[in-house]
Symmetry: C2
Subunit: 490 residues, 2 copies
């Protein structure tokens, strides 16, 4: 008889039933060739004694193995390992390594990537991010309250697990009203789709609009996750300069005249990364180009809801674009929740196709979360939250502006943005950002070395200094670290 006492080790602290542990080990022994087809197992009484277990436990384990076809009861002889299993080679008794331990033997595609990571901080929790909202200001409690009242209403429970690829219907129609009031968008419910953040909308729209080898116009520099997504789709990117008035529309038109352009990606407010806004003049000209050449345009308006110096210009999508603008935005930014919520606006036929594609990669959104957000839109919570956070973020922008001017004027160049959550700050070439980021991390400040903002182009030695998530004390602490790193002070 095999030394079952050493082969079958029971973990009495495990949450798994003991009889299942016995059965599981037996299966492993069969698979490893230790127990061979046709071999008889010890009687339950004998094995129970060996393993110091109750006999009923062994009986249960054997019953389990029978029900799973691993062993068969033979009259008067006991339990036999099933003979119709392919024979496998016997192995040694070492604990087997994970089958996942080795390099995969199959081949798989490589995905384009960028240097997005922040320097890992040694101590402290200070982070300069890309332009995130301050989650401490978010109406999380109110959102949870809405969630609770939805689940307590049995009428709602029924449909929590159902849902379409285009999002929760209540949220769709609240968003329709919201976009009409805030952006003057003239749309119907079937023009709108709720997505997992703006990123999913970019991916879906681009996947439908382009195929490998197509020409796509983007800004230079451009939002890196959009770039990565277009690279993944295999398009050829035509990079058009972005200056202080936004994207160079003359250059865009030139490209449209000479090449078959399959898509254009534009960020009309607070261009990412440089935060410039498309001027009124260029905006008109761009609309004219879009109409004349019938170019589908993804307008990524990720932080429209945050504007300080003046009210935002209405998006391209609200003007006369001949139906060619796919308008994308984010609720994640506006709410400051950890929820990823975005939206996409387009012609109904396009949205319907995007919803079908969405189902392939993500059957549906979270009905409960989405409906709770719809309630917050309907009862004015989001409106109030935006008013409050716009005021606070404006103060933080001004505070950052003040600190940069006072403390680092000779080192940095920047233009306070008209809105949004980050200031684009470039550093003098004497101070390479990757080195600054590394030293800052040692002092407890995590920040980007700026590599990601130069993805695919010349190094810019700049970064988006997200001010929205940092209060005055934290902003000051960030500048203190930066100054210490740059001036070499104690």
């Amino acid at each position: 008889m095999l030394p079952f006492k050493t082969l079958i080790i029971i973990d009495k602290k495990s949450r798994q039933h003991i009889y299942l542990q016995v059965a599981g080990r037996m299966i492993a022994l069969i698979q490893e060739g230790v127990l061979k087809p046709g071999q008889y197992l010890p009687g339950s009484r004998v094995l129970a004694e060996q393993l110091k277990l109750h006999r009923k436990t062994i009986v249960a384990a054997y019953e389990e193995l029978v029900s799973q076809d691993w062993i068969v009861p033979v009259a008067r002889k006991g339990m036999m390992v099933a003979t119709n299993l392919p024979a496998v080679k016997p192995r040694t008794f070492q604990t087997p390594a994970s089958p996942y331990a080795d390099t995969p033997r199959f081949s798989f595609a490589k995905v384009p990537s960028a240097h997005v990571a922040l320097q890992p901080g040694v101590k402290g929790n200070l982070i300069i991010n890309d332009g995130f909202p301050d989650v401490r200001l978010a109406p999380l409690e109110l959102w949870l309250k809405e969630c609770r009242s939805i689940i307590q209403n049995t009428r709602y429970q029924q449909h929590l697990l159902h849902g379409s690829g285009s999002g929760n219907h209540v949220l769709q129609s609240e968003m329709m009203k919201y976009l009409s009031v805030t952006r003057g968008l003239n749309i119907m419910v079937d023009n709108i789709m709720i997505t997992r953040g703006a990123q999913m909308a970019i991916y879906l729209a681009a996947s439908l609009l382009v195929k490998k080898g197509d020409y796509v116009i983007v800004g230079n520099p451009n939002y890196y996750y959009a770039d990565l997504c277009f690279e993944q789709l295999g398009v050829r990117m035509l990079r058009v300069p972005v200056d202080k008035d936004g994207i160079d529309v003359e250059a865009v038109e030139k490209l449209c005249r000479t090449k078959k352009i399959s898509m254009m990606y534009v960020i009309s407010h607070h261009h990412h990364p440089t935060t410039v806004t498309l001027s009124a003049e260029r905006r008109m000209k761009l609309l004219e180009i879009i109409r004349r050449y019938n170019i589908p345009v993804i307008e990524d308006d990720y932080d429209y809801d945050f504007h300080y110096s003046s009210a935002p210009i209405v998006p391209l999508a609200s003007a006369d674009h001949g139906g060619n603008v796919i308008y994308i935005g984010s609720l994640t930014k506006s709410l400051g929740l950890s929820l990823r919520l975005g939206f996409m606006i387009g012609p109904a036929a396009f949205i319907s196709e995007a919803a079908s594609l969405r189902k392939m990669l993500d059957l549906r959104g979270d009905n409960l979360s989405e409906e709770a957000v719809a309630m917050l839109l309907a009862n004015g919570t989001i409106d109030r939250h935006l008013k409050k956070s716009n005021k606070i973020y404006q103060e933080r922008r001004d505070q950052l502006t003040y600190l940069l001017q006072m403390r680092l004027e000779d080192v940095v160049q920047f233009e306070p943005p008209a809105g949004g959550m980050a200031t684009w700050v470039t550093f003098s070439r004497k101070y390479p950002l990757p080195a600054i980021a590394e030293k800052a991390a040692a002092l407890g400040l995590r920040m980007s070395g700026g590599e990601v903002y130069s993805h695919g182009i010349q190094p810019l030695n700049g970064l988006r200094f997200g001010f929205a998530s940092l209060n005055n004390k934290e902003l000051t602490a960030c500048i203190n670290v930066l100054e210490k790193v740059i001036r070499g002070r104690k």
Copy 2:
């Protein structure tokens, strides 16, 4: 002077500031060519009188327009429409139709689709779904409680908006333990990725493993959303029969010998749609094939956690597969939350690539929800929920079995499943399901006409009868409607 009173209509009930409404309409008038470059606007006092608004409101609107470069103040002459805007053709004064109203003028890809929709119900809320959990049993309150305690802990708030493409770290490590206990999976944290439901995992894995024109082995019939996903990726599907012992492994091997197979998709427990489980013998044989031919296999184990007749067989992923099995599962089903949560297990290099791809289409998951689920795993809530719901679902399976045998035995064929949430029920050819579904809908029962289960193959005239979400009273009500429709009784 233009009739501004009719051109600028103010909605006093709107949440938008009145001065912004005035500015917005002015911009529209400039864009529509009603107001032309170089033209002067009326003085603020005059316009205020016309519009019956306070003069300060008009001044604010003009300031807004100046700050946006639409108009320029000219000394002693007032406000002039900026001249550096491209001239646009004047139009009539009709309310413009939505730019999204027409058929899009640009072209875009078509996505494969299947007839998934349920018949819309005329009255009543009775639904036979595909095999969904009962959301009424889900630990929603406990999940909300965890969410609340996370947001009340400022240490957590900091990282709610950060996150990696492979999921919340706490959930990853809780899942690692959970999968080890329940499935005997021998993995590390970097072998695991949290996704939006199993569907996202299927999409990501397949996108990395195959390209257009590749051969992929699937069951016949097969889970339709997997089929659709593979169609979208442009592969050639080789359909292998699935009988009462699962997929025909001899047929699989034959294909492996003759063709270069890029991937295989298999559902070893409760095959979708027919709910059969791969026999122990075929399972061993399949593992041998996987090792010999080094074929990457997506093992979709969507409802492993629900087993009634015997404990589940451990997945292929837990056996000796040479690192070739990408194991996919769902927490959505196990929890019964509306959250979409799934996971994917594979070699670390593969998981890392999948996480990069995931960021293109969905930057990250919802940290708050994921961490709350991790807490429920850690404190045993999910374990208890599974025990409770397994018991209830088993009773419901038995009740459905009883009802079908008693009331529709001559019309239906089925085999009570060993686990899961649905029974595969085929109807006699005399009773075409699409017609039954249509008539049932008129009686308040929404159900599938079964078309979707035959996607890409011969019509099966069967459907998955999801029993888990229906209590005894509701199951009886469903059968009552079906009997009425089939027998033509009152």
